[in-house]
């Protein structure tokens, strides 16, 4: 270790000794109502977000199900169609 590092280490120890004891618990107790409020706000925002997502999903879903379905004749599948056309054709030749 260099001299600089040793001196810095000593200085840090001196600074630490200068620190005054703090009433941490009473500060925390004073802040408790604000912390509780903040927690409630966070929970409220999260709940509101969940409700908003649920409502918008339900709305979109209801719109999709209430839309009129287009009327159309289902086309025969390609293999069946090819077979039936071939059958018709062969019938025509006869």
């Amino acid at each position: 270790m260099t001299t600089t590092e040793e001196r810095l280490r000593t200085r840090f120890q001196e600074m630490a000794d200068e620190a005054q004891p703090a009433a941490l618990l009473s500060r925390l107790d004073d802040r408790a109502p604000a912390m509780r409020r903040r927690r409630l706000v966070v929970a409220g925002v999260a709940a509101a977000a969940v409700v908003a997502v649920a409502v918008s999903t339900a709305f979109v879903q209801s719109r999709l199900t209430s839309m009129p379905q287009p009327a159309y004749e289902p086309r025969p599948s390609s293999s069946w169609g090819a077979l039936s056309r071939r059958d018709q054709g062969s019938r025509g030749w006869r």
Binding site: T2, T3, T4, E5, A19, P21, L28
Partner: protein, 174 residues
């Protein structure tokens, strides 16, 4: 908040509070800032007290939070930092009677460092952590820890003559 009524949490704050304040004071250089920093770290700890208590890692969690908060404040308020490119002329203490002024010099030199540089120095030379441990705690690379330590020590040596090794005082300022 439940943790604040938990006797284990309160016992932890009573038992380790003064050591945490000492670290925070060395880190910030100001009593009020140190108390604010610790309070914020303890509030975060209280929020996660259930899992931290079972892991038995309360103190390391508080310290990690404290150092990371300090560095992140530095990131947010970088513009307002009292950093200067102009390095003042170093003082060369001539007698033992100048000790108080020397101490002030060092305090001023430390205040001129960026928060991250100061945090790294405190972790290395006050908390006695290895470079790897400092890197993990602050979420940076070991290379950054090494380079920032070197730069911070250099700045301190130049700005505060009393920190320079006996044979090099004043030489680095030229």
């Amino acid at each position: 908040m439940k943790a604040l009524e938990d006797s284990e949490f309160r016992g932890f704050v009573i038992a380790r509070g003064s050591a945490l304040v000492r670290s925070a004071y060395v880190l910030t250089g100001d009593q009020q800032l140190a108390e604010d920093l610790i309070q914020s770290a303890l509030e975060k700890t209280a929020r996660h007290w259930g899992s931290i208590r079972f892991a038995g890692a309360a103190e390391s969690y508080v310290r990690r939070t404290m150092y990371r908060d300090q560095v992140s404040i530095w990131r947010r308020r970088r513009v307002n930092e009292d950093l200067t490119d102009v390095i003042p002329e170093p003082r060369r203490p001539e007698s033992a009677g100048d000790q108080v002024e020397e101490r002030l010099d060092l305090a001023q030199a430390l205040n001129r460092l960026g928060r991250r540089q100061r945090a790294i120095l405190v972790l290395r030379f006050y908390e006695d952590l290895t470079e790897r441990e400092v890197a993990e705690l602050l979420g940076i690379s070991v290379g950054t820890v090494k380079s920032q330590t070197f730069k911070a020590l250099h700045r301190l040596r130049v700005a505060s003559g009393d920190l320079a090794p006996a044979g090099t005082r004043g030489r680095e300022a030229r």
